[in-house]
Symmetry: C2
Subunit: 278 residues, 2 copies
């Protein structure tokens, strides 16, 4: 391949690193691809680091050591995160979205790629330091946002099922109590899905009583996997006493029973507060 000019290299370099979040690329990889010297590629990478920081488009980290190189971590500015989540709240606060039992119609939003991608980036940024080995979700509605969070973190997604399935091979089943109905349900995970000693980030769409989340924690216990964090798209303001603690949520909803006009949906405190990080 012919030698590539800096303008062209900047474009190709940006596309390649941002399309593979958390993958470590060596300097040599780009030197070969572009037919450029190491010193030249280092300068390109410096420029890209500055631009990403300046436009709040994520971070390009330098990883040192034998397997070193550069690694892109998706991210956005706090202002942009607040703008996106506030916009979603306004759209969700329509009374027609309130469903029987105090639930909210979220399915359209939870399967719009651009929306779940933004949510995934905002959530992933909160858990880079927790260094999970995989993201765990319970089928079905949380899968898209969990996948995008896993993508931003550069780790696999693991999906717990309601029942074990011929497609999954042998599985571990546990029973759990759903928070809202006090019903006993079953949660199933393929034996080969995870390994003892790994760290899980739990991501799901909706947090009410916390029963399903509690079930996922117990399931991880069966596999000797540590829970490194929990994140949810939406939480109800009530009940205050949940079966879990220490979670991050993007939005909070509140509504009086059988009164759609009372519906309120707002960004979680940690997204709007200037000082609080809760």
């Amino acid at each position: 391949m012919d030698r590539t000019r800096r303008n062209e290299r900047m474009a190709a370099l940006t596309k390649i690193v941002t399309a593979s979040p958390n993958r470590i690329f060596t300097l040599s990889y780009f030197c070969n691809l572009f037919g450029a010297a190491k010193s030249t590629m280092s300068e390109d990478i410096d420029i890209l680091q500055d631009v990403l920081a300046r436009f709040e488009l994520g971070r390009l980290d330098t990883v040192t050591g034998a397997a070193g190189g550069v690694r892109f971590r998706p991210g956005m500015g706090k202002t942009e995160a607040r703008r996106i989540i506030t916009g979603l709240c306004e759209e969700l606060a329509h009374p027609s979205r309130l469903l029987p039992g105090g639930f909210l119609y979220l399915s359209d939003m939870l399967s719009t790629p651009s929306v779940v991608r933004s949510m995934g980036v905002i959530l992933a940024e909160q858990f880079y330091e927790a260094a999970p080995d995989f993201v765990l979700t319970m089928e079905t509605k949380g899968i898209p946002v969990a996948l995008m969070t896993a993508d931003a973190l550069g780790v696999p997604l693991v999906i717990a099922r309601h029942s074990s399935n011929v497609y999954e091979g042998s599985a571990v089943n546990i029973n759990y109590v759903t928070g809202s109905a006090d019903r006993i349900e079953t949660m199933s995970l393929s034996r080969r899905a995870v390994h003892a000693g790994q760290r899980a980030l739990i991501v799901d769409d909706f947090l009410k009583g916390g029963g399903t989340a509690r079930g996922m924690i117990d399931l991880m216990g069966e596999f000797s996997v540590q829970v490194a964090g929990m994140a949810f798209v939406m939480a109800t303001a009530e009940p205050a006493h949940r079966r879990i603690h220490g979670e991050k949520t993007l939005m909070v909803m509140d509504a009086k029973p059988d009164d759609p006009a009372s519906l309120v949906v707002r960004p979680a405190d940690w997204l709007i507060g200037e000082t609080s990080d809760k």
Copy 2:
């Protein structure tokens, strides 16, 4: 914001357009963002178009008219697509992956973000011209690849469920015959999920008898939605007579009953053939 140099603009421009596939950005948007003249931004866009084509990193299309601008369409070269799918086939052809009933353990691959992203781009490229309004899948295992296909196409994902659910509001249910077991099952979709006159692209993980796919076609019929195409990650070589026709698949598997050593997994013909486009 200060005036931005071309090297820096190229990096930011690339990140912004590639992160929002199929979204149309006006020239003015970038002129404002970078404080640059229209002629300058046009040159930047020309450079980016050339680089994406040269490195086979997707396409930047110019959209004319009042709502015109540029639109990024993810894509990859045929050589790269073949390399990725061939690599997946090699990994999948391990006899330990064969499950009772002639199924294959695919769950790990189907929920690895980088893998489903590549699959989604390869599938989306086949359906840009079909211009679907949304991607339809049946829960659960096909959701990640269907989401990534929808993301590359810039359209929402719609998920059919096994049963209607309190979170979804009122729903349309149909019964369908699963191809393998000749069992009757139910498929459910929220009334507000899709609209009459739209076009659907069906994406799912596994094609055997085609019963589930047939069910999705019938379900779309109930909503007066036209099926613009069907795509699958894996198809069995047998049965030759399916309940559906005209699908695109990425991989084909074959195995004699109860003989794991006979397992063969290969890329679909259209990915490896030089002339055929089937």
